[in-house]
Point group: D2
Chain length 326, copies 4
Amino acid sequence: MPVPAPNLYPPFNIVRLSHVEYRVTDLAASRAFYVDILGLQVTQEDDHRIYLRAMEERGHHCIVLVQADTAEVGVLGFKLYDEPDLDKAAEFFANRDLPVEWVKRPHMGRVLRTRDPWGIPLEFYVTMDRLEPIHQKYKLYNGVKPLRIDHFNMFSANVDASVAFYNDIGFRVTEYTEDDESGRVWAAWMHRKGGVHDVAFTNGLGPRLHHTAFWVPTPLNIIDLLDLMSTTGYVANIERGPGRHGISNAFFLYVLDPDGHRIEIYCSDYQTVDPDLEAIRWSLTDPQRQTLWGAPAPRSWFEEGSTFEGATPMASDLKAQPIIAP
Amino acid sequence: MPVPAPNLYPPFNIVRLSHVEYRVTDLAASRAFYVDILGLQVTQEDDHRIYLRAMEERGHHCIVLVQADTAEVGVLGFKLYDEPDLDKAAEFFANRDLPVEWVKRPHMGRVLRTRDPWGIPLEFYVTMDRLEPIHQKYKLYNGVKPLRIDHFNMFSANVDASVAFYNDIGFRVTEYTEDDESGRVWAAWMHRKGGVHDVAFTNGLGPRLHHTAFWVPTPLNIIDLLDLMSTTGYVANIERGPGRHGISNAFFLYVLDPDGHRIEIYCSDYQTVDPDLEAIRWSLTDPQRQTLWGAPAPRSWFEEGSTFEGATPMASDLKAQPIIAP
Amino acid sequence: MPVPAPNLYPPFNIVRLSHVEYRVTDLAASRAFYVDILGLQVTQEDDHRIYLRAMEERGHHCIVLVQADTAEVGVLGFKLYDEPDLDKAAEFFANRDLPVEWVKRPHMGRVLRTRDPWGIPLEFYVTMDRLEPIHQKYKLYNGVKPLRIDHFNMFSANVDASVAFYNDIGFRVTEYTEDDESGRVWAAWMHRKGGVHDVAFTNGLGPRLHHTAFWVPTPLNIIDLLDLMSTTGYVANIERGPGRHGISNAFFLYVLDPDGHRIEIYCSDYQTVDPDLEAIRWSLTDPQRQTLWGAPAPRSWFEEGSTFEGATPMASDLKAQPIIAP
Amino acid sequence: MPVPAPNLYPPFNIVRLSHVEYRVTDLAASRAFYVDILGLQVTQEDDHRIYLRAMEERGHHCIVLVQADTAEVGVLGFKLYDEPDLDKAAEFFANRDLPVEWVKRPHMGRVLRTRDPWGIPLEFYVTMDRLEPIHQKYKLYNGVKPLRIDHFNMFSANVDASVAFYNDIGFRVTEYTEDDESGRVWAAWMHRKGGVHDVAFTNGLGPRLHHTAFWVPTPLNIIDLLDLMSTTGYVANIERGPGRHGISNAFFLYVLDPDGHRIEIYCSDYQTVDPDLEAIRWSLTDPQRQTLWGAPAPRSWFEEGSTFEGATPMASDLKAQPIIAP
Ligand SMILES: [Ca+2]
Ligand SMILES: [Fe+2]
Ligand SMILES: [Fe+2]
Ligand SMILES: [Fe+2]
Ligand SMILES: [Fe+2]
């Protein structure tokens, strides 16, 4: 098996993915998309920045939209278990000769800023302002009725190496795609919080963010979103789906925000808390891995992504081709 | 408006579409598809013929599968309101110099066999054996849980002429697609029973049957069918969807039986009983007419269909091109 | 069988139930309920009157709310097929010595006002202002996402007699409940438009309106409404459900408007267009007739209803008792 | 707040609840219920014992049905993280003067058998036979389509004490009900695996098992089960629901197996992995805590439960009364 055994005793305890900062070129247009169409809730906003949370989240934000000249991704945030984990994390990254910086962030306690070996900007924290529950304020539910942030998916120029690094810090592989010829990993799904993934990596020009995903209750929410987007001027922002992933077994839809940042709407994956969960292997040539129902993804889905602030993407030397819609 | 005003006083009273005879080249393979995958119920069968009904139907059959050398369509059946309507229908078709024949059919009373002006074999009847209700025998529900036959969709080499003929016998147009340049009708949806259609016509090599549709309760039944077909060897039989039609507003999926006869699974259209219902016009160049969400249909969907026994398809002289997936 | 054979050639052609006028004591409170909670769309309003339609309706209104001192029902409206049907209806009611009056109603053509033999105020019309379709304006969908008015249910002091009268004018019985001892009909469901019913009658102090029902796409819409009402101050307005009716097989919920007018939210019944459809008989002692799942209805549901303007309810002499929740 | 702060560093690491042994008096009747109605999959069986798993589980079993003279519960099983956790658990229970026994169980590695202070039989293990995934074998899905075991709910004669004990071993309170007068906890929900609970305790004659719950994808699965049970002879086995819990926000149904063991079907709760998740407090007098929609539970639901082998239930001295249906 080309994926490493899970690291049951990682150097620090990551609870889950937490939030993403999207730099956007037209804050009002992005607000319309994320709030009026997707249904995320504004928890704070000013002329430069909008904080959003999903319906069952009590942390202050899962997305920060920042007005900027260039659309890119500012940072990926992860919640740690306890204060000592922050210090252990700092030590880990320092030992790997990766940057370690303690930064101030509104609504958050101590924040450790660093980068992974390929330059993806990462921030770790333990405490973020906690807000009143709104998951039973049904009058607020709108759009796709997003319940919570679910995962990040990233392009990597070397998925084997990305998997090794994130495995070291405790992410456990649940499913992966292998290139039969080279035996290399084409894509991998890795979790901390007990679903199929908190992070995933796909072979390609990387590092870039492929998408951020939100969890919704049922496939009907996704159908509602398609109907809504199709009749409010967003039909061109629908990129792929709806469909059932072979990998993860989740029902999905991919849409693009006004800057082209890709958002997945996602439901119905499975519980993965068992530490002895066996990773499921898929062949790159299996057309059902992407869509169980057989429909290939469009070319844009394989090629386009959001750059990370301060990280220069590089081409992958793994040239195997997935199945692309004609 | 290029579609005729509804004929509120047709020469005879058609209640609804009723059944289709499919000639199939491998009866066992067809049985597996219609019974084990789609979930239709066998009401009678022998080595040559299988009668099927859907879950809320009390008439003896909505599909007859007949073992044959060639896959084609034997007949489209329609239920009339009362016995006198049968005689009025015979008179109508005779006056149009169309064939009129009284035939014997198992499980049915008097049956009038005729053809439309382009050769589509039609049979009209008033009484068919009535069976015990099974719509509350939930243990029998299986596959996509089909509730009832919903409509026939046919290729026509002259949709304007098809619409005029079927309008004469009481079908009322609910929606239609117009070729903006020629002003001709590209496709039309016409009903008797109070939904968007009992019959529809699409420009193309005709007459041929494009598909027969079945009504299901919710989009989730369609998702269940996709999951089932994808994991039981039928992934290649999934042709198009799932999606929301612009026209009819219905949620749909198209699948192919083992002989390539196309079946649509369909739900969520709207009530059309008002005799003053205004037909909705769509432009042939509107990508949302086929799929509200913007995804075009594949080429096969525009080109392939089932021939009718004894009817020779002819090319249409309307060469306008719909939007086809690349 | 204690229900009459269907009258296939009624004296005039009723297409469907159309609208109800509710007199309400606090128009603003009623608006909040019908618009903000149920999601009906306002088509016109002033200080005294609000016209509402459901999402797939093109007629101007299905509910008229009228500010009044007393909560009652002003009229039940029905759409006829063609202008001559109006005159035939007038003749029919005159021949039965029932009142016949031609009245002016905003947004409507000729309107015939009459009463049934027990005083229920009825209005028949052919034309009502037609509005632009909104069924694909998904941004407007709200609350329970009501698609169309579905049926009226009325208390009758003599259900056998009510059934006979409405059968005479073309309503066809689809299901009924019989009191095994007396052999009398306890309740009956009768349709024109091809569903289980446009009107139903239940034994009790009558005539009174038991409820008006709206059709929604799926049971999940009903669950959404329950969640919404429960968290916006309307928990006490939830009277019964959700559940599956044995009779009609529909999924249902009963809620009360601010004046106690009862509204049913309803989906999943079946098609009944066949003129030879056999009515389904239920015993009054069968607990599954009301709720297939066995839960009895509360006492209020059997006893409370809305009076009709100008009609004095009388007790029924059929004293059989249905199954009431303890 | 009357519930303890979470113990972030418990003495051993419990991953999740795992399985329950039900002793049943008619193994064939129980098999019909769990397999043909609920849709659990048999992984092994003989004349005395049936092992079952749910659709997304890869462990060998979540329920063991054992033929017995008396219907009771043999054991509640929990999966630990790693082998050393087993030894730490043994030490913990020994230090509390609770029984510690190493037992042999088919399909499992080392098994530690013990009891909680009130006599509930508990077994802890790390490894159980792992089976091939079946979550994408959609042809096998049946009944309510159960995905995984979700939680145990137990009667306790002293909920405060039960919460304190299970908190000590790492279960974290997510929601609880407080008796306003006494300030004592009436009921509490506690998790390990990141949902609202793995275990819950309710005041009453205890220890007894109130129910075991299974997770399903959507509320429609629960409606399907109701329709199925209602039409296959199991209508009397439907005890309560469907409804939305106030506590946990989950959609639920309670049914009884042939011996009266109570099974909950459950979906739609929320993610609770944050270690700083604030427990939500409900008042015992809030009618919406049990059912958000206001309907009270029946008396049987408060009073009946399954005894544990070898544990004698005792009455609670907390006499506060919840709201019971009349
Ligand atoms: Ca034996
Ligand atoms: Fe994803
Ligand atoms: Fe169709
Ligand atoms: Fe009703
Ligand atoms: Fe529970």
